[in-house]
Structure formats: C-alpha cells, structure tokens
C-alpha cells in the first residue's frame, strides 16, 4: 500500500492481482463457460479454410464433393456465429456484474472516508477516480478482457490447427513472433506516456478555449484578444508536438508489425511449397496452412491492441481498490469512550496550537471558554487562523497541542454519530446535491416531515423561493440551478433541521447581499435560541449582534469581550468598528 501525493491510498499490484484472482474464482463457473464457448466458436472458425483446402484439392483431382463441402462450410459458419454470440453474451453479463460490484464497493469506500482525510485530500483525486478510473475499468472489463480472451483462444487453436496439418507447417507461422514481441515491447513502453501527453494537450486546448469563452467580457474589457490568440497558438504548438511524438512511435511500430504479419505468409508459402514439392506434405495442407497463417493476423493484432488497455485497466483498479470501506480508517466508529450526554455544548479550549505543515503554526496557544448557549463572533483579518479554529472546534482535525473538550470529552474523540448531534460546521463552500429540494434539507434527519422542512427553510429566509419551486423540484447538477446565496441558505436549513447543540458558521452568509444576510442571521438566531453558535464573519454586524466577540490576529486571540466592552476599550476592534461604521456611530 503506497500513498499518493494527495493522501489517498492506491492498492498494490499484488493486491490487484489477488483481487482479480478472487473474482475469477468466485465466478469460476461463468468464466469457465465463457472460455469453453469462445474456444468452440474459434474451433468452428477453423473448419472453413480446412474444408476449402480439401475442396481445392478434390476439384483439382476432378472429384465432385462441392455440394457436400459447401453445406459443411455453411454449417460451421452458423455454428461459429451462434457459439461466439453466446460466448460474448455470457462474458458480458459476468463483466457487468463484476463492474457494478467494483464501483459500488468504491463509492461505499468513499462514503466511509474519515472527515480529516476528505478535508486534506481535496476532491480532485477522488473525482478523477470516480470518473476516469471507473470509465477505464469499465472499458477494460467490457472490451479488453473478452477480446483478449477470444484472441488468445483463437491464436492457440489456430496454431493447434497448423500443428495438426503438419508440425513442420506450424513453424513458418512463428517467424513473425520475435519481431512482434520486440516491436510491441518497444512501443508499449513508450506509448502510454506519449498518448497521455497527447490527451493532456487536448484538455489544455479545451481549457484555453473555455477561459476565452467564459471570460469573453474580461477579454474585451482588458483588450486581451491577442493574448488569447497567442494562448491558442501555444496550445496548438504543444498539441502538435505531442501528436508528432505519437506519430513517430507509430511510424516505427506499424510498418514493423505489418511486415511481421506478412512474413509468416511468405514463409509458409515457401517452406510449405518446397515441402510439397518434395512430397512431404499435401497440397491441401499447404493451402490451409497459408490461409490459417493469414487468419492469425486479426487475433494477434487485437491481442496487441488490448494488452496495453489491460495494463491501464489494472492501474485504474488499483486506484479504485485503494479506497475501500474495510481500508478506510473509520476511527470514529471505533468503540468510543462511554460518556455521559454532554448537553447544550459549551467548549473548553486549552493551550491549543495547530499547524498544517510542521513548523508553521497557524494557531498559537489559544485559550477560550465558550458557555453553553452563547453566541460568539470571531473576527480578524484573513489568515488570522479563524477558519482553523472553527475546524478544530468541529472536530475535523486534532489540535497539534492542547485540548478542545465538549462536556469534558475531547471533540476529536467523539464517535461520528455523537459528534453530529454535538457540533456541525457550515462553511462558505456550499454544495447542492442532485435530487429534490427536500433531499437537500433532510440529510441530517431523513425522517423529517414536510412541516419540519418548511420550518427549517423559513428559519433561513428561504421559504419564499423554495415554496415557489416546490419541495420536490429537482436541483443540483442536471436540475434547476440555485444561486450561491440560495445554496448557502440550503446549507443552513440542513443544519437547522439536523439541530446539533453547537453550530459553527464560517462565513456562512457571505454570499448573500449585506441586508439579506443580516435579516437571515436574525431569523436564524430566533430559531437557534439556546444553541451555542460560533460565527466567523467579515461583516461586523454579525459581531455586533453576538454575545461576545473574539478578535484574532496572527493565530492569537487579541481581544475578547462584548461589543460594548470592546468599543469602550478602544482597541483594534473599536478602531475597526469606527472605520466600518464610516464615522456615523
């Protein structure tokens, strides 16, 4: 198990192989059935050329078996078609089953990831795994594995047929093998990176155009037209270089294997022909051997094509298997210390320092007591450590030193279901899920009825537009688009319905316009009476409305007190209040 840069694990090659073997064993009857059907189908395919060889010999000798032979050829054609179709269906059915299982296991694993890991890893890597790797694996399972199987079986049987015709006739068919082997190895080693680069260059082109199009007004305002044209030309140059690189590989590889394919035909003709002239093999055998050798071309080509794809599928599986429910360190679901109920929240923060990178503390020795039911506002310039304090209070990270407790229990040790009743964090980042408006609100309390949903939406001033759209309206990607402000209201409504003892609002109303934000905060305050609220805000009215205000600077709490106290004290907050208030107060 090795860790990727983003912190999400990737399964080892051994684990992938072991799992593939496990899957094959679990479905051994289906696998065996598919292989047998493919083999029988391929074997029937070999009958045609053989019969043709016999026929040519017979008619050359003036023997008339034409009708019987033709009927036999037809029979084998029908047989081959039926068997192959059946084999394809059986292996596809199995493939779909395994594929569904793999992707479902992956999503279950994602849903069980520890909160801290989710925060640290970011969504980029997970999204790539969810989209690209699932697609690559699907491609491998749907096409690469069956085609590889069919080609391998066909090659083995065709070679077997050649041996039956005469062991000597099988030898010329193999003259292309060393060439193919070396050329494919050479190509495969280089192709992957070259094609990845080519794909990346197209993403780059698309991204450049997307920027130009999305930012068309900015392009006009700042007169960036020429720069955008330079950008597309740069991207084209990069794409062209990447295309040339893959073309160079193909220029070496394709002619080589083309010649490697014709060599066996040539060799069979010459060697088989000489053997025939020496009376060592029959004319029928040489004819059939020549045709078989030509027939080998298609499956060998297919096999070479998919070998690469199989490797890619394996790598995708390694990344998918890296995120699994049984691997996710579900630390919170471990038996937690049996604690008495810690009603109404209330925090004790003692000597807390925290760093994301060793040696770079963003919080320094913070002490803070938050009483149950208190409303505390945290203000200060960006980078002061406000959000970090919020995350630590919410139990997302464990502080580097010091303790944060709720009713005497360290927050980061509460089991997940308990933590959720205790404290919830809403940030500026908002996400509207695909589903109905109702789905988006009831996350934390799936049993909630419509009346409760309505109450929650009313509490965040969202009922006007929500009732106009209807609770069953489809929202999120693919549904109706909500404005960022509406999305923030939904996030808050979710929280109201989930009803934890403590709410941490990190710029949770920043996307609403100022007067709407203030109105929302007031109606929210009415609903949350008695709950502990920690509000991190850049708008000072939030601070003004709070019980106490903590002013943070460079990772420290520099002032703490009520609005009136702080204004009277004439410190940093008072100064700020005056300027923000524009000298009116």
């Amino acid at each position: 198990m090795s860790a990727s840069s983003a912190g999400l694990p990737v399964a080892s090659l051994r684990e992938v192989r072991r799992h593939a073997r496990r899957l094959a064993l679990r479905h051994r009857r289906e696998v065996a059935g598919a292989v047998a059907l493919h083999a029988l189908g391929a074997a029937s395919g070999l009958a045609g050329p053989w019969l043709l060889g016999r026929l040519v010999e017979d008619v050359n000798d003036g023997v008339d078996h034409v009708t019987r032979m033709t009927l036999l050829i037809c029979l084998f054609v029908v047989l081959q078609a039926a068997l192959t179709a059946l084999a394809m269906f059986v292996s596809a059915r199995l493939g779909e089953k395994v594929l569904a299982q793999l992707r479902e296991e992956f999503v279950d694993g994602v849903l069980a990831l520890p909160i801290g890991t989710v925060e640290e890893a970011g969504s980029g890597d997970l999204i790539t795994r969810t989209t690209r790797d699932v697609d690559l694996l699907a491609r491998a399972v749907r096409y690469a594995i069956p085609d590889t199987l069919i080609s391998s079986v066909t090659i083995v049987l065709t070679l077997g047929g050649l041996v039956l015709l005469g062991p000597l006739l099988a030898l010329p068919a193999l003259v292309g093998v060393p060439v193919l082997w070396v050329a494919s190895r050479w190509y495969r080693r280089r192709a992957r990176t070259a094609y990845l680069r080519e794909n990346a260059s197209y993403s780059q082109l698309a991204e450049g155009l997307a920027e130009t199009v999305d930012g068309a007004r900015t392009v006009e305002a700042l007169r960036l037209g020429d720069r955008r044209f330079e950008r597309v030309n740069r991207d084209i140059a990069a794409s062209y270089a990447a295309e040339r690189a893959t073309l160079r590989l193909r220029t070496v590889y394709l002619p080589t294997i083309d010649v490697a394919f014709v060599l066996p035909v040539f060799a069979t003709l010459v060697i088989g022909g000489l053997l025939y002239l020496d009376g060592m093999v029959s004319l029928a055998a040489v004819t059939a051997a020549t045709l078989y050798t030509q027939q080998l071309l298609v499956p060998v080509d297919t096999l070479l094509f998919w070998l690469n794809e199989l490797q890619i599928g394996g790598a995708a599986m390694a990344r998918l298997r890296g995120v699994r429910r049984d691997l996710a360190v579900v630390e919170r679901e471990r038996a937690a210390p049996a604690t008495e109920s810690v009603d109404a929240g209330g925090f004790e923060v003692r000597g807390v320092s925290h760093a994301y990178r060793p040696g770079h503390d963003v919080l320094h020795d913070v002490d803070l007591t938050i009483a149950p039911g208190e409303r505390l506002a945290v203000v200060g310039p960006s980078g002061a450590g406000k959000s970090t304090l919020g995350k630590l209070l919410a139990g997302i990270h464990q502080p580097r030193t010091g303790t944060i407790t709720v009713g005497g229990v360290p927050v980061s040790e509460l089991p997940l279901d308990r933590l959720r009743t205790e404290v919830a964090l809403v940030t500026q980042e908002h996400h509207v899920f695909r589903g109905t408006l109702r789905d988006n609100v009831v996350l934390g309390r799936p049993s909630a009825d419509d009346a409760a949903v309505e109450a929650a939406l009313r509490a965040v001033d969202a009922w006007d537009w929500a009732s106009a759209a209807g609770l069953s309206a489809a929202v999120g990607s693919g549904g109706a688009e909500l404005s960022p402000a509406q999305a923030q209201q939904l996030a808050l409504a979710r929280l109201v319905l989930a009803d934890p003892h403590t709410l941490i609002l990190d710029e949770a109303t920043s996307l609403l316009d100022p007067s709407a934000a203030r109105h929302l905060e007031r109606s929210l305050a009415a609903v949350l009476a008695g709950r502990t609220v920690v509000a991190i805000a850049h708008r000072l009215h939030t601070a003004h409305d709070a019980d106490r205000i903590a002013v943070m600077e460079s990772g420290r709490i520099v002032e703490l007190g009520s609005h009136d106290e702080l204004v009277a004290a004439g410190g940093a907050y008072a100064e700020l209040w005056r300027s923000w208030h524009g000298g009116a107060g």
């Binding site: 043709l52 034409v66 992707r103 155009l209 199009v213 140059a237 014709v262 002239l277 700020l576």
Partner: protein, 568 residues
C-alpha cells in the same frame, strides 16, 4: 509534414458549410492529394495479395515449378512491404490533414470569441461555443482524416473488380453485388445497436454524475449525515446501468453473429459457384482461393467507403455550426473617431440616471438595487448603448476600441486567466515588478503573493481556483489598478474581504488613483467614506449627492449603508 500552428489561419471565403470544408481542404491541398495517392497504392497492394497467393499455388505448387513458387512468394513479401510503407505514409498525411483542419478551426473560433467579447453570452452560449471548439472541430478533422482513405477505397474496389471480372465475370459479379449488400445489411443492423449504446452511455454518464455529486458534497455528507441515502441511491442506479449493459450486450452478441454469418455465407456461395467452375474447367484452384480472398478483402474498402460518407455528412453538420458561430457580429461595431485628447481628466455623465462623475475625482455610487449598479456600470463602460458622454462627447459615436482603452469596468465576474501571475496581472502589457508590487499593495494583496511558492512567477490556474473568494477579489483589483485606465469603474470591489483589509484598500485606492477618474459602486461605509463625492441611486436615478458624512442624514442612504440597530 507541415508545421502548426499557422500564424495566420486565414479567412474562409464564404460562410457556408460546404465552402468551409472545401476551403479547409484547399489550404492543404497538396497533402490531401498525396494522401489520396498513398491511399490508392495501399489497398491495391492489399488487394493484389490474394492474387499473388493464388498464383503461387497455381504456378508453383499445382504446376510443380520451384522457380515460380519462389517468384510469387517473393511478390507476396514485396506487396506486404509496400503495403506497410504506404500504410504509414497515408496515416501521416491523414493526420496532417485532420490536425490542420482542427487547429485552423480552433484558431478561427478563438478569434471569433475574442471579437464577440461581451456580446458572446448574449448571442450564443458558452456551452455552444465549447461544443463547437471541442466536438465539432474533431468531426471536421475526421472528415479530412478519412478523405484520402475514402479516395483510396474507391480505387481499390475498382482494381479488385477489374481483376475479378477479367478472371471470371460471373463470379466477379456475385462478389461485387454480394459484398456491398452484406455491408449495407450489417450497417442496417448496427443502427439500433448504436441507439442502445448511446442510451447506455447516457446512463453511465448519469451514474458518474451521481458519484461526482457524492464526492463534491462529501464534506457535507460526512459532517451532517445522509451517506446511507446517497449510497443506497448509487447502488440502485449502478444496478440499473448493469442491466442496461447486459441489454446492450445481448444486441451486440446478436450483431456479432450476423457479422460472422453474412460474410461466411457469402464466401460459401462463392466457393460453391467457383468450385463448380473449376470442375467445369473454367477456373483454376488457385483462382478459386484468390476469389475467396477477394470476397474477404472487399468488405474492408466497402465499409471504409460508408464510414467516409458518414464522416463527411457529420462534418457537414459540424461545419454548419462553425460557420453559424463565425457569422455572428458583435453588438457594438468597431469604427468611429477616437475620444478627444487625454490632456486632462474629463467628466463622465449619464443622462439616464442623472449621474455626473467629475474628472479626476474619486466618486462612489450607492445603489439600492445591485442590478441597477450593474446596468449603470455597463452604460458607463459602453457595454450597453446609451447617451453617456465623456468630456461632452457621446460614447456611442466613439470608436469602441478607444473607449475600452480609456474606460475600464471591473466587476466581480471578471475572469482570472491561467498563466504566470506577473503576466496575468499586467493585462495592459509588460510592467516592471515595482509597478506590479505597487498595484498588489493597493489591493492589500501582499499576503496572497507571499503565500505563493514562486512569487510573481507562480503559474496560477484557470479561474484562480487555488485562491479564496477574498484573495481573488484583491488580485482582480490589483489587475484593474495596474491597467491605469483614464477612468476606472469598480463594482463592489471589496465585498468579499474582511473589514480590516477593506479599510486598508479604501485608503490606498484613493491615494493611488489621485488625479484620475475613479467610480466605485459600493454600499460599504468604509469605501464610501473615502470618496470625494457620493451619489445615492434609487429606482434608477440619482436621488441625492454629497459626501458620506453629509448623506448620513438622508434616511434612505442611512438605511442602505449604515449598519446599526433598526437600520435593516
């Protein structure tokens, strides 16, 4: 091979889809023709292969002539080598053609997008342009890619037909009628399969969107709950996709059977007829083997021909969308006289709202409705036609290029582009580090710069995704300040920064723009307090003017900007 990008993509002579495709082909005619030449030789060599094998059997084996055997076997090998060489040469030409068409179209689309500018979202959608730039460009490239192969296929069909008809016209006719019929029948069977595959792809995309949704909202799900609900839904949808997949596999298997059956039976028919002719002495055994080869071979060029035809049809549809995009005209046409001289800062006036902006002054506009602010800013910058005058001259009669140079409207929707930070900030042209740093200082964005690993050389990503809303807003402000326009119109430039930072920005901005005209749309008292003059706009017209302090006595103004009890 040619070299791309072409510094000047040129201009299509006429904006119709057919002409556009022909124009593209003409820009690289030599490569198209060379490709067609290889495209003829390549399948011809392939088509001659069965003939040579047949002769080797007849002349070498049946006639027991060692010399002829070696000669014909040698011909087989030589044909193989020619095929390999012309195959790759043809591929190279095809790729050059495809890339040329693709790149040239992309250049034209990009140029058109920049020409449309602010008009673009009004005349078309970003999605439409992207689909032209990504999908349609590929379709057009593909048509040029297959052009030489299509020409080659026609040639090889002619060659094989000629050989067959010369050998045995009866058998030849059977092959020539049978093979296209077979290809046509398979294509007919393919159509419903394609529909099913498309449906499966859609379902698969739905499923992926579902998973991406879960990942996107994972923090929420893990924070508040709902994993079980979403997990269950994913499983259900995944199983639906599985069954759709099996459904498609059934159709695919049936089609595969047909694809083996039809040519197999055709070959059997040819063998039957051919063998009778051999018995009658009209045909040799080797010729029969060759006919078997022809029948197998011909399926490929015939299929290629139909692929080529469908690629050209698709490219025609794609070209129609391209030319429709290229035909769009910006709403505000360039041309007209330049705005009068820059000797001194000039007044800006909007008769519609009654707003008057004094030249060289820092004016703040407080609008009761944010939409009103956006509309007014659009008029001041001539993004919408109006009677706004600059130094007494109506903007509508001036050259829009010149208006853009002098008046910069910077709002929060302005885009940050990917590239080295230094270059992205210096939108108006290269600026030395001292000026860039000064602009960052005005925007109080020094801390943003400090956090970057390579300082001003750091390559920022598209849209500045790595920055928070407040950081991005300050970078945008720095870019606008650095452009040093005669008139700078800022819309809510500090809405996402904390009060501390806002106070710093307000003071520095006023100082940095001293002597030049600045208009700031804002409702924050911190910014308003730093303005030389403040105008209150309600219902689309200026209802009061003065300074922040004097206006505070106006209850409408107070209700909008002051943040005390009872004001909201």
């Amino acid at each position: 091979m040619r070299h791309f990008p072409d510094p000047d993509p040129g201009r299509p002579s006429r904006l119709s889809p057919g002409h556009y495709l022909l124009w593209l082909a003409r820009t690289q005619l030599a490569v198209v023709l060379l490709g067609a030449f290889y495209g003829v030789i390549w399948p011809t060599a392939q088509a001659l292969m069965p003939y040579a094998v047949g002769r080797a059997i007849d002349d070498g084996l049946t006639a027991r002539d060692r010399g002829d055997l070696l000669v014909w076997a040698g011909v087989v090998l030589a044909l193989g080598v020619v095929q390999a060489a012309t195959g790759i040469l043809q591929d190279r030409c095809a790729l050059t053609n495809a890339l040329g068409a693709r790149y040239r179209t992309l250049q034209l689309v990009t140029r058109q997008a920049t020409r449309l500018g602010a008009t673009l979202p009004r005349k078309t959608s970003a999605g439409e342009v992207m689909s032209v730039g990504v999908a349609d460009v590929m379709q057009i490239g593909r048509a040029l890619d297959v052009s030489s192969r299509t020409i080659g296929s026609v040639a090889s069909i002619v060659v094989v037909a000629a050989i067959m008809l010369a050998t045995s016209w009866r058998l030849g006719l059977v092959v020539l009628v049978g093979v296209p019929l077979m290809v046509w029948a398979v294509a007919l069977l393919l159509r419903p399969l394609h529909d099913r595959q498309a449906r499966l792809r859609d379902q698969q995309a739905e499923l992926t969107a579902h998973a991406v949704d879960i990942v996107g909202g994972l923090r929420v799900l893990r924070g508040i709950g709902g994993e079980e609900l979403f997990g269950r839904r994913y499983h259900a949808e995944s199983q639906r996709v599985r069954h759709a997949g099996v459904h498609v596999a059934r159709a695919e298997a049936a089609l595969e059977a047909a694809r083996m059956l039809l040519p197999g039976l055709l070959v059997a028919l040819i063998v039957f007829l051919g063998a009778r002719q051999v018995l009658a002495g009209d045909l040799t055994g080797g010729q029969l083997v060759a006919f078997y080869g022809y029948a197998v071979f011909l399926a490929t060029p015939v299929r290629r021909l139909s692929i080529g035809a469908s690629a050209i049809m698709k490219a025609y549809v794609a070209a129609r969308r391209v030319v429709a995009l290229l035909a769009l005209e910006p709403e505000i046409a360039p041309g007209g006289p330049a705005l009068s001289g820059t000797e001194d800062a000039r007044d800006l006036a909007d008769p519609e709202s009654g707003l008057a902006v004094g030249g060289g002054r820092f004016t703040a506009v407080a609008c009761t409705d944010p939409a009103e602010a956006a509309a007014l800013a659009d008029r001041l910058g001539r993004y919408a036609e109006s009677d706004v005058t600059y130094g007494g001259m109506p903007l509508r009669s001036a050259d829009v290029e010149d208006v853009r140079r002098r008046i910069l409207v910077a709002g929060n929707e302005a885009r940050v582009f990917a590239g080295p930070l230094r270059a992205e900030l210096a939108a108006a042209g290269p600026a030395d580090d001292a000026r860039v740093l000064a602009a960052l200082e005005v925007a109080s964005a020094g801390d943003v710069l400090e956090a970057l690993p390579d300082g001003l050389d750091t390559v920022v990503s598209s849209g500045g995704k790595e920055f928070s809303g407040g950081q991005l807003q300050r970078l945008r402000l720095a870019r606008a300040v650095l452009a040093e326009p005669d008139v700078l119109v800022l819309v809510e430039p500090t809405s996402a920064v904390d009060a501390h930072t806002e106070a710093r920005i307000a003071a520095r901005l006023a100082a940095a723009r001293a002597g030049r005209t600045t208009v700031v749309f804002a409702t924050s008292p911190i910014l308003l307090d730093h303005a030389d003059a403040v105008a209150l706009v309600d219902g689309g017209t200026v209802v009061a003017t003065g300074t922040h302090a004097s206006l505070l006595d106006d209850p409408r103004y107070r209700a909008l900007v002051a943040r005390e009890e009872g004001a909201a």
